[in-house]
């Protein structure tokens, strides 16, 4: 898997929001690689910059946000300085995106099927009828029942799970090679969640796409991802293969995250059932602590952590950590 070609490469990306009250550094110095066919999980608390990160890739950061520096290379081509027109050719066609909250992501006054077929017709010159057939096909692929009926339905007539399937169909309409899924299951019931996840898994195999899965749910990551990047206050603090990260977390934040999740694991009796909540809260993004941004909440940090932000310590298997104290 590690040998497969590089699809997306993000290099020292910075996205800032310049406001009257100050600058919010939503994405700071992020490096991230996604290989062909791989699933990269991006985890972090709410407000850690995951969504802005995803929007930065396709240059859709809302004002007053702006990519300040860094590059995003897609298939070896720098896409950060493309014009809006060139960018719109990549969006939807090469990179599909599923946004948070299916409840509001569909146009309320346009039949949902139309919203799929218009994407197909935007990127391929295709007749209305042909695009409609394609849409039916796609709707069956995302396991929607009664496709002719649902095609004509409006968003308010559909349940959350159905809407999410429609949005997946929209994102996959032009067979992109990268799918960015931003909290694809957060707004859904648990039973629907697992359906959507297994659907994503199947589609990923069938369409041979790479997946950037953004979530705050570690169980989803452990189930879906090949590699995981942990984000805190706009930075990636640890990146590792999924197995390494879950069996041997190194960064104190990663450790804290894993400890904050209840485990159903009867073999390690001393760990099961004990939830250790992470003390403190996500720092004010306008007023970040000096040095390592995690030090006020860190159990092992000391004064030396308050001077500089730690550099990356590279380990084997493509893993890296940014911490002075984790003993590596």
């Amino acid at each position: 898997m590690k040998t497969s070609a590089l699809l997306l490469s993000i290099k020292s990306l910075q996205t800032h929001f310049v406001k009257r009250e100050g600058i919010v550094k939503a994405v700071v110095d992020v490096d991230l690689n996604i290989h062909q066919g791989e699933t990269l999980g991006l985890v972090g608390e709410s407000g850690s910059g995951k969504t802005v990160m995803a929007l930065s890739i396709v240059k859709l950061v809302p004002r007053p946000g702006r990519i300040v520096s860094g590059t995003v290379e897609y298939k070896g081509r720098n896409i950060t300085n493309l014009s809006e027109k060139e960018m719109s050719r990549i969006r939807g066609k090469d990179i599909g995106i599923i946004l948070q909250d299916p409840g509001t992501a569909l146009n309320p006054v346009m039949p949902v099927g139309e919203q799929i077929s218009e994407v197909i017709r935007t990127h391929f010159s295709m007749k209305r009828k042909e695009a409609k057939q394609k849409t039916y096909e796609l709707m069956r692929k995302v396991q929607l029942p009664n496709v002719e009926y649902i095609y004509k339905a409006y968003a308010h007539q559909l349940s959350g799970g159905l809407k999410q399937r429609i949005l997946i169909a929209i994102a996959l309409a032009c067979r992109p090679s990268l799918l960015i899924a931003d909290e694809p299951t957060t707004a859904l019931d648990v039973s629907i969640q697992s359906q959507i996840l297994s659907l994503l898994k199947d589609l990923k195999k069938e369409f041979t796409i790479s997946l950037l899965l953004i979530t705050h749910d570690l169980s989803i990551v452990s189930e879906m991802a090949d590699r995981v990047a942990v984000m805190y206050a706009g930075r990636i603090v640890e990146q590792a293969a999924v197995y390494d990260l879950f069996t041997n977390p190194i960064h104190p934040y990663t450790k804290a995250l894993l400890n904050a999740v209840p485990k159903i694991d009867f073999s390690h009796s001393e760990r099961s059932g004990s939830i250790a909540p992470l003390e403190g809260r996500v720092p004010d993004m306008m007023n970040l602590p000096h040095g390592c941004t995690f030090h006020p909440r860190c159990p092992i940090g000391d004064e030396s952590c308050q001077k500089d932000y730690p550099g990356k310590t590279f380990l084997d298997n493509g893993r890296y950590v940014t911490c002075f104290k984790s003993g590596v």
Binding site: V58, L60, P62, R63, S88, R89, I90, R91, G92, K93, G96, I97, L99, Q100, D101, T104, A105, L106, N107, P108, V109, M110, E118, V119, T122, H123, L167, I170, A171, A173
Partner: protein
Amino acid sequence: MVLGSMIILTILSPLITRYDPNAQVEPALSRYQSPSWEHWFGTDQFGRDVFSRVLFGGRISLIIAVSVVFLSVMIGVCYGAVSGYFGGLVDQILMRFVDLFLSFPVIFLVVTCMALFGSGISLLIVVLTLTGWLDIARLIRAEVNALKQRPFILKARAAGLRTLRIIGRHLIPNVVITMIAIAVIRVADIILIETALSFIGLGVQPPTASWGSVINDGRLVLTSAWWVTLFPGMAIILTTMSLYVIGDGIKALHH
């Protein structure tokens, strides 16, 4: 209901009345006849049938109002949608332009235009459209500005849709209800403006009848031949009232 019958009556006016609205029948005898079976609303100073003048006049008034509103809504919606969607500098420039033109007093502008280019129904439509689309553009801009923050617009952009398509197929259809509500009320406003202009002699020119000009005809003889002013006045009140009620109804439905 009232509005519907008013529209039907004016559209079918040639079938309903027996009299040509401009025909002057035996002037000496038939001037200022009070309402009777012959002439339901009486006759005016030239012996013309007021009933048929009100119907034909309504036709003119409604044609003017509807075309003005249609045109100004078209312009206003496109302009407002573009301004609202792009935001930033484009929005600033487009909206300052609107502000500039909104600061012109409408009646004064119309009077000037009429004085410069003469008067006529088509000129009246043009002038009222030019002054009427501005605040529609402003309202639509505000709606679109709020609408573009909604996730489905981000989804449309993330799917790589073209800007024109996003504006035309995703933004404008979502402001249609506001658009209709504005349009309906605006028809009533334009009827009143047109009436006022025709009343002071700047709108529809004699002998063509419009509600305003018919009222104008009866102005001098209000105390003796009240029917000449009363009936077109009633027509105006009923029409504009029902338009306002309908417009409010649509707004209430929306919220």
